[in-house]
Structures are given as structure tokens and as C-alpha cells.
């Protein structure tokens, strides 16, 4: 059995710090600078926002069960579609994947006692709850923003002005949070690794967070600029995006997508990192192609900055741009493919444990193959012109964001819940959760592709009756997804209180976070660990190659 036998040598003994031994429950509601508290704060708040965004999706799917607009008022429908997208992106996936897992895991994975700037870290988190409150307020002060999460002017400038302004304010707050968090991750990973850890001994999640942080630093300020200009147009009489006063509506789209396409990678790169951690542990094999996976994250980060116009192929886009961005978009498929192939190769020949964490990871792999292929078709401008702004696009991005990012978050929760709380999640309940989620995802998002190709545009509350059958199927799928979260939330709440004790390393994993207690003590280790092996050296210790009966296994003969 591969034990995480990191030899703990006394390199540095910390004494006399002024912390209590253990945080009390109310510490989690305060301005606390411990990265683990902040990580849990991010995760818990984002999982609450997930329920809010999901609730809106269920109401929208109920409206779409029939072709006519007969359940929600059209304004409320548009407010829900706007805030569903906004919440799921900015208050669920980004804070859960980057803020939650990033903060909790990065210092533990590199052998640091905290993030580089703990107070900045707490400030970054505490920008999120007020942003959510501002969005909630926008519903009561004018019915919520109604011009889509893209908020294209002129529509966003003539519709629901106060809620739209509040929406801008909320997004600038979470954007600021993202920038502060990114600086913190980069400095922490750059400067605070234990001295024995070289760059190529870092867990791949850290590489993914490096790529994510660089991308966020380049892209987020541009979104902030666009939203501030939009706010000025709405409230202070400027005309940056007003065509009848010399403004240009297409400029906003460039500014918006310069951030919002990289935002897709902000939502998936950390998830790729989670995949690279979960799969080797539960397949009991080293990650296949460490360097290829690490560098492909950086390649996605770089190329991902130059693909944004593929969201604008039918907009005011010159021919040369359509061609340039077709090619650059297709190129992103290559590093993404490298990752997928590497994970499949990691499974190949392993001894796969059917844990819930692994099921979600493999489910993600399967979903992402489909989502990636449909993404390639969207990258080709001539075909994109047909399906742009249709349900084909809705199907595609839910495949990669739900089948990808959300599956990855689930996988990460099942994998690290024992570390975060000290208790195991219930596995049978987890499997129920997985099966419901998997079936619900297929039913909800697959028929959308056909709807789009056949002629159903996105963001509509009423549609041509010929599309009714497929839409009802999608609605049934959405209800299954709504039900699927019940076993999960129950499992988390129940197991947090009375789950099985996990011990420091229930999965026999080799990365450093498993060398400390579960949950880790404040400041993470009594004595900092020293690296004696890489993060994925499964099956390499000769002593571990002997099975329980003392027989040499297949592996030693390979």
C-alpha cells in the first residue's frame, strides 16, 4: 500500500504564536485571516449561491415547458436569465473553484503556513457576500437586471437602469476580489513553497492556479473598465456606447469578451487542476505527462487571451477578424486535448477505485470530450454564424461549465471533504448523487444542441411550438438536476457533524496536504514537512509493490 510516508524532519519550529488551537464555529463568520477559514467561507457561500442560481434555472425551465409565455412575466424571466448566469459564474463557480479550493489547498500543497497576504485574502473574500447582497437588492429595487449576463448596450442602457447599475457594482466588487486573490496566489506559489520543492515537484493544481491567476490579472481589469463605462453611460450622461451620440456598441462587446472569454478558463483551469489531483490518487498511478499537463495550462492561458472575438462572429466583426479568431479558437483545442488524453492515459493500466470523487472526475472527462468537440464546431466561423445565440451554444457551455466545472467542484468536494472537515462523506449517498447528476446532465443539455440547430434562439421566454417536445425533455432533465442536489446537501450537512472520522490520509495520497491532521491545525503543521518524493509517485516505492499476501504484483513485472 502506498503510504504517504513523508518523513517529517524538524526544519523549523514555530513557537509562541497567539492563535487558539482550534477555530470556534463563530470564527467562520468573522474577518479571519486563516487561509483554511477563508477557503471554507468561499465554499459555503458559493454553495448557497449555487442554490439561488439553480432555483432561477428551475423556474426558467418551468416557463419553457410550454411554448407560450405563461408562467413568469417576461421581465422577470429576463431578470432570472440574467442573474442565473451572473450568479453561477461570478458567485458560484469562480469563488468555489478559485477562492474555495485555491485558498484551502495552495498553502497546504506547497508546505506554507498561510497565503502570502492573509489580510488581503480576507478582504478579497469579504467583497463577495456584499456583492451577492447587492444583486439580491437589485430584484427589490426595480426587478433585477434584465439584459443578460453580457449586458450589451444599448439594451442594458435603456432597461431597468437602477438594477443594471447595481449589477455593475456587484460585478466590479467580485472582479476586484478576483484580482486581489490572483496576486495572492501568484506570490504565494512563487515565494512560499518549502525550499525542497522545485517547480516540477509542485502539484498540478498549483500550476493550474498559476495559469488562472495570470489570466485573471490580465483580463479582469478590462471587464471593470467596460462596466464602469457602462455605469457612466446609464447614470452620468456619457455616451461611450450610445450610437445616436457618437458612441459605438461593438466596442463594449470587445471589452466585455476580452474578459469574459478568459473567464471561461478561469472557471475550468482550476477544475483541470482538481482533475490532475483526483485521478492519480484514485487510479493509483502517477499522472501521465506531468510536464505536458503543466505547460498546457500555460498554453491555454496564453492562447485563451486571443480568442474572444469568436463570441462576436455575427456582430460587427471584420472578415479578417472572423478568420484570425477562428484559427486561434481552434488552436485552444490542442492543449485541452493533451490534458484529456493524459488523464485517459492515467486511467489506463491503473487500479481504479470507484469512489464518488473518481466517478465525478471520470464523468467530467466524459462530458468534457463532448463539450470540447462541440466547442470546436463553434470555433469555425461559418458554422458558428448559423448556431450563434441559439440553444446549441447554451447546450455547449452547460456541457463544459456544468458537465465540466460543476462536476469538478463535486469531485473536489468528495476528495477533500475529509481533509477540510476531518470526516468522510457518505459514499452510497454520493453515488446516488452522481447517478442523478449524470443522467440529469445528459437529459438537460444534450437536446439543447438539436434545438439550436433546428432554429431555437437562446434567451427566449416564448418559442415556436414545433420545439415543445424537446424542451419538455430538457425541463424534465432540469428537474432531475434540481433533485440531485438534495442527497448532496444532506450528505454534506450530516457528514460534517457525524460522518466517519477520516484520519490524516484516507485516500493514501502523496501530496503534502495529506501529511497533516484532518482538519489541519492552525498554521497547518507543527513542523514543516520536507519533500522526499514527487506528488504522484504511486507504485514507485518497491516496498509498496508487495500485495497483502506478499505476492509480487503485475506492476513489478511491467
Amino acid at each position: 500500500m502506498a503510504q504517504a510516508d513523508v518523513s517529517i524532519k524538524p526544519t523549523e519550529v514555530q513557537g509562541g504564536h497567539g492563535h487558539p488551537d482550534k477555530w470556534k464555529w463563530y470564527d467562520y463568520f468573522t474577518f479571519n485571516v486563516d487561509h483554511k477559514v477563508i477557503g471554507i467561507q468561499y465554499l459555503v457561500t458559493s454553495f448557497l449561491f449555487y442554490l439561488a442560481g439553480g432555483f432561477m434555472a428551475v423556474l426558467m425551465r418551468t416557463e419553457l415547458a410550454t411554448p407560450d409565455s405563461d408562467f413568469l412575466s417576461p421581465d422577470l424571466y429576463n431578470a432570472f436569465l440574467t442573474n442565473h448566469g451572473t450568479i453561477m459564474i461570478f458567485l458560484w463557480i469562480v469563488p468555489a473553484a478559485i477562492g474555495g479550493f485555491g485558498n484551502f489547498l495552495i498553502p497546504l500543497m506547497i508546505g506554507a503556513r498561510d497565503m502570502a497576504f492573509p489580510k488581503l485574502n480576507a478582504i478579497a473574500f469579504w467583497l463577495n457576500p456584499p456583492a451577492g447582497a447587492v444583486l439580491a437588492a437589485s430584484f427589490f429595487l426595480g426587478g433585477g437586471a434584465q439584459s443578460g449576463w453580457t449586458s450589451y448596450p444599448p439594451l442594458s442602457e435603456i432597461t431597468a437602469n437602477l438594477p443594471q447599475t447595481l449589477w455593475c457594482v456587484a460585478l466590479v466588487m467580485v472582479g476586484t476580489s478576483s484580482i486581489l486573490g490572483s496576486v495572492n496566489f501568484l506570490v504565494t506559489i512563487w515565494k512560499m513553497r518549502i525550499p525542497s520543492m522545485k517547480w516540477d515537484q509542485m502539484p498540478l493544481f498549483c500550476w493550474a492556479m498559476v495559469a488562472t491567476s495570470i489570466l485573471a490579472l490580465f483580463a479582469t481589469p478590462v471587464l471593470a473598465a467596460a462596466l464602469i463605462l457602462l455605469t457612466f453611460d446609464i447614470n452620468f450622461g456619457t455616451s461611450f456606447f450610445k450610437p445616436d451620440a457618437g458612441g459605438n456598441v461593438v466596442v463594449y462587446q470587445h471589452l466585455f469578451w476580452f474578459y469574459s472569454h478568459p473567464a471561461v478558463y478561469l472557471m475550468i483551469l482550476p477544475i483541470f487542476g482538481i482533475m490532475s489531483e483526483v485521478i492519480p490518487v484514485h487510479a493509483r498511478k502517477p499522472i501521465f505527462g506531468y510536464k505536458a499537463i503543466a505547460y498546457s495550462s500555460l498554453t491555454i492561458c496564453l492562447v485563451g487571451l486571443f480568442v474572444w472575438v469568436h463570441h462576436m462572429f455575427t456582430s460587427g466583426t471584420a472578415p479578417w477578424m472572423r478568420i484570425f479568431f477562428t484559427i486561434s479558437t481552434l488552436i485552444v483545442a490542442v492543449p485541452t486535448g493533451v490534458k484529456i488524453f493524459s488523464w485517459v492515459a492515467t486511467l489506463w493500466g491503473g487500479k481504479i477505485r470507484y469512489t464518488t470523487a473518481m466517478l465525478f472526475a471520470v464523468g467530467l472527462l466524459s462530458m468534457f470530450v463532448f463539450g470540447g468537440l462541440s466547442g470546436v464546431t463553434l470555433g469555425a466561423a461559418p458554422f458558428d454564424i448559423h448556431v450563434h445565440d441559439t440553444y446549441y451554444v447554451v447546450g455547449h457551455f452547460h456541457y463544459v461549465l456544468f458537465g465540466g466545472s460543476v462536476f469538478g467542484i463535486y469531485s473536489g468536494i468528495y476528495h477533500w471533504f475529509p481533509k477540510i472537515t476531518g470526516r468522510m462523506l457518505n459514499e452510497p449517498l454520493g453515488k446516488v448523487h452522481f447517478v442523478l447528476t449524470f443522467i440529469g446532465t445528459l437529459l438537460t443539455f444534450t437536446p439543447m444542441h438539436q434545438l439550436g440547430m433546428q432554429g431555437m434562439p437562446r434567451r427566449v421566454a416564448m418559442y415556436d411550438p414545433q420545439f415543445a417536445d424537446l424542451n419538455q425533455l430538457v425541463t424534465v432533465g432540469a428537474y432531475i438536476l434540481a433533485v440531485s442536489v438534495i442527497p448532496f446537501y444532506f450528505n454534506v450537512i450530516w457528514s460534517w457533524r457525524s460522518g466517519k472520522e477520516a484520519g490524516p490520509n484516507p485516500w493514501n495520497a502523496l501530496t503534502l496536504e495529506w501529511t497533516t491532521d484532518s482538519p489541519p491545525i492552525i498554521e497547518n503543521w507543527e513542523v514543516l514537512p520536507v519533500l522526499t518524493h514527487g506528488p504522484y509517485e504511486y507504485g514507485m516505492d518497491k516496498a509498496n509493490q508487495v500485495g497483502p499476501a506478499g505476492e509480487p504484483t503485475e506492476a513489478t513485472q511491467v
Binding site: 409565455s69 429576463n78 450589451y152 444599448p154 439594451l155 450610437p243 445616436d244 456598441v249 461593438v250 487510479a283 493509483r284 498511478k285 502517477p286 501521465f288 505527462g289 505536458a292 455575427t314 456582430s315 471584420a318 472578415p319 478568420i323 477562428t326 481552434l330 488552436i331 483545442a333 490542442v334 493533451v338 488524453f341 485517459v344 486511467l347 489506463w348 493500466g349 491503473g350 487500479k351 481504479i352 466524459s366 470530450v369 468537440l373 470546436v376 464546431t377 469555425a380 466561423a381 461559418p382 458554422f383 445565440d389 441559439t390 440547430m453 433546428q454 432554429g455 434562439p457 418559442y463 415556436d464 504511486y538 507504485g539 509498496n544 509493490q545 500485495g547 497483502p548 504484483t553 506492476a555
Partner: protein
């Protein structure tokens, strides 16, 4: 019994995957009927992508499912798998193959794009006198602009020569030719207005002859809309302040939906009308039957610079009053009044 060598089974699987993919690529039936010259070009590109995608899908999903079964943990086996950390030739292979595929697809997309006329939007403007001589001069149907210019002035050349025109223009073979039919398309919350500058006809539905070179000049009056005919495989955003165009030849008679594809407000989903592709004779009849209405329509349309969009719409297209689009428009107008009273 002699074991059959692995390369044999690899070959059999390879042939099977290829055949299945080719079949799926030709028989997926996912797209609606083709009704424009561009549609088969787009569909051929999509079929190629479906073929390649199906092959990759089967291979990768097959490898995943095979691994899950073949390499599952056996009962009582607590050992690790073999410590394989990579394989450079294999990794080079699966980097190179997708690279070749995407470069190939990229080049193919460029060819399709060129054949669709994507490289020459606005390319034919300034060549001919046909547009300039047309009786109805307003290419951009923005009320303030009309008021500014006055009814007699020619605004076409100025508007189109100063700025980039977006969309799909004439393909290179046709570049110097004028279109057979020109229609000025205006999107507004929540209706499409089609004007025929050659004849002065205004309608809420698009009527075009089959087999003729049609030019749509697309503009938006209020917010961004997007003109989409799924059966033509063509879509172009209607942008306030930015001229755009679609030029195509419809190849199949029939009635197809015209859909607004860009979120444009509360009744975006109701912003639907239709395009009727007539035989040349039927089209001539339709034009003749509508010409009589032209005089009244144009005289009403001219002085409306201060009208609200609802009044504007009702005045220029009285036949729209029965359509659901018009009803949605009226609802919107009432809603806007309600909002104004209760800010």
C-alpha cells in the same frame, strides 16, 4: 488456440470507427432544410466536423469505458498501478494529430467563408447606379436621420462609403454585379420591417424570388437585434449605428422563419416573422399587388420623425396590426408608459 495479434484488432476497430463516423457524418439529420446557396457549404463543413468528432468521441469514450472495466480495482488488491509517468512519442502523437486536424479545419473554414462571400461585405458599393437611382432613398431607416436628410436627399453613398460594412457580401465572382433585389431591413423592439427601395414596398414579412441575388441592408433602430433564417444558415446582428448586410441566393421555394437571435428586451422571443421565397412569377405578382399601396405608405412614412415606435410601426405597416408581433409591440408600449409613470 493461437492468439490473434493485437494489431489485427486495432485495424478492425479502426475500420469500424471510421465507417461509423462517416455514416454519422452523413446521416445525423440535425440541421433543417437547405434553402440558400450558402447552406450546403456550411452543412458540408459541419458534416466533416461531425465525422471527425464522432471518431474522436468513440475513441476517447471507448478508452474511458474500457479503462473503467479492465482496470478497476480487483477485490482485495490494495496495490498501486504501474509507475508509468509518460511516453514522449505517444504525447507527441496526440499533440500532433489534433494540431493537424484543427489547422485543416481552419483552412477549410477559410475556404467556406470565402465561398459564402464573407470576405466582401460592402464590396460592391460605389460601383453601380442602381441603388442610387432607387425611388426610396433611406437605406438606414432611422427616423432622426431621415428627418435630417429630408426625403429627397441621397444618403446611401455617404453612409456606406465612410464605414466598414459587416456581414456577408457578394462572393468574388459576383463582386462587380449589383443584386437583383435589394431590401432594407430594420430591426426594432419587437418587429422586423422590410422595405424595398426599388418599388417602395414596406412589409412585415420578407418576400424574395427564388434563384435571384438578394441583398439585405440590415440596421437596428433601438437596440441590437439579430437577423437569422435557420434554413439559409445566415445570421447577422442588426446594430444601431453600424451598417451590415447579407447577400445570398435563395434556392428553395417555401416559407421559413425569420428569428431575432439577440436578446432585445422582454418580448425578444416573440420577435419572429417569416421569409417567403416565391417563384419568379409569384414574386412578380406579389410586387404588382403591393405597388398600389406604395403611394399611401410613403406619404405617411415621411413626416414621422417624432413618432413613438408603436405609432411609427402602425403607420408604415398597417398590415402588421393583426400579427402577434404587433400585439407584443403594443404591450411593450403600454409597459413603457407604465414604467414612465412609476419610475
Amino acid at each position: 488456440m493461437k492468439q490473434i495479434p493485437a494489431p489485427f484488432w486495432t485495424l478492425v476497430l479502426g475500420i469500424a470507427v471510421t465507417l461509423i463516423s462517416l455514416w454519422v457524418g452523413q446521416n445525423h439529420n440535425l440541421l433543417p432544410v437547405q434553402a440558400s446557396e450558402q447552406a450546403p457549404l456550411v452543412d458540408d463543413l459541419f458534416d466533416v466536423m461531425v465525422t471527425i468528432g464522432t471518431a474522436l468521441f468513440i475513441v476517447v469514450q471507448g478508452a474511458i469505458v474500457y479503462s473503467l472495466i479492465r482496470f478497476r480495482q480487483r477485490k482485495g488488491d490494495e496495490t498501486d498501478g504501474p509507475p508509468i509517468e509518460g511516453n514522449l512519442p505517444l504525447e507527441a502523437f496526440w499533440t500532433a494529430i489534433p494540431s493537424i486536424i484543427v489547422v485543416g479545419l481552419g483552412l477549410y473554414s477559410v475556404v467556406v467563408f470565402q465561398e459564402m462571400g464573407g470576405f466582401s461585405p460592402g464590396g460592391h458599393h460605389g460601383h453601380g447606379a442602381m441603388v442610387a437611382m432607387a425611388p426610396q432613398q433611406s437605406v438606414i431607416d432611422v427616423a432622426p436621420l431621415m428627418a435630417q436628410m429630408g426625403p429627397g436627399e441621397n444618403v446611401d453613398a455617404d453612409v456606406y462609403s465612410k464605414a466598414q460594412v459587416y456581414g456577408f457580401g457578394a462572393s468574388p465572382l459576383l463582386q462587380l454585379n449589383q443584386p437583383d433585389v435589394t431590401v432594407n431591413v430594420t430591426g426594432m423592439q419587437f418587429a422586423w420591417i422590410f422595405r424595398y427601395p426599388d418599388t417602395g414596398i414596406t412589409d412585415g414579412e420578407l418576400h424574395i424570388p427564388v434563384g435571384k441575388d438578394v441583398q439585405l441592408n440590415i440596421e437596428a433602430q433601438d437596440v441590437i437585434h439579430s437577423f437569422w433564417v435557420p434554413q439559409f444558415r445566415l445570421k447577422q446582428d442588426a446594430l444601431p449605428g453600424e451598417p451590415a448586410e447579407l447577400r445570398f441566393v435563395a434556392t428553395r421555394e417555401g416559407t421559413y422563419p425569420v428569428v431575432c437571435a439577440e436578446l432585445c428586451g422582454a418580448y425578444h422571443g416573440g420577435m419572429r416573422t417569416q421569409v417567403i421565397v416565391h417563384s419568379p412569377e409569384d414574386y412578380a405578382d406579389w410586387v404588382a399587388s403591393r405597388v398600389a399601396e406604395v403611394q399611401t405608405t410613403t406619404t405617411v412614412a415621411q413626416p414621422l420623425e417624432t413618432a413613438t415606435s408603436a405609432e411609427y410601426l402602425a403607420a408604415i405597416a398597417p398590415d402588421l396590426a393583426k400579427s402577434p408581433v404587433q400585439i407584443a409591440q403594443m404591450d411593450h408600449a403600454q409597459m413603457a408608459q407604465g414604467a414612465a409613470q412609476n419610475p
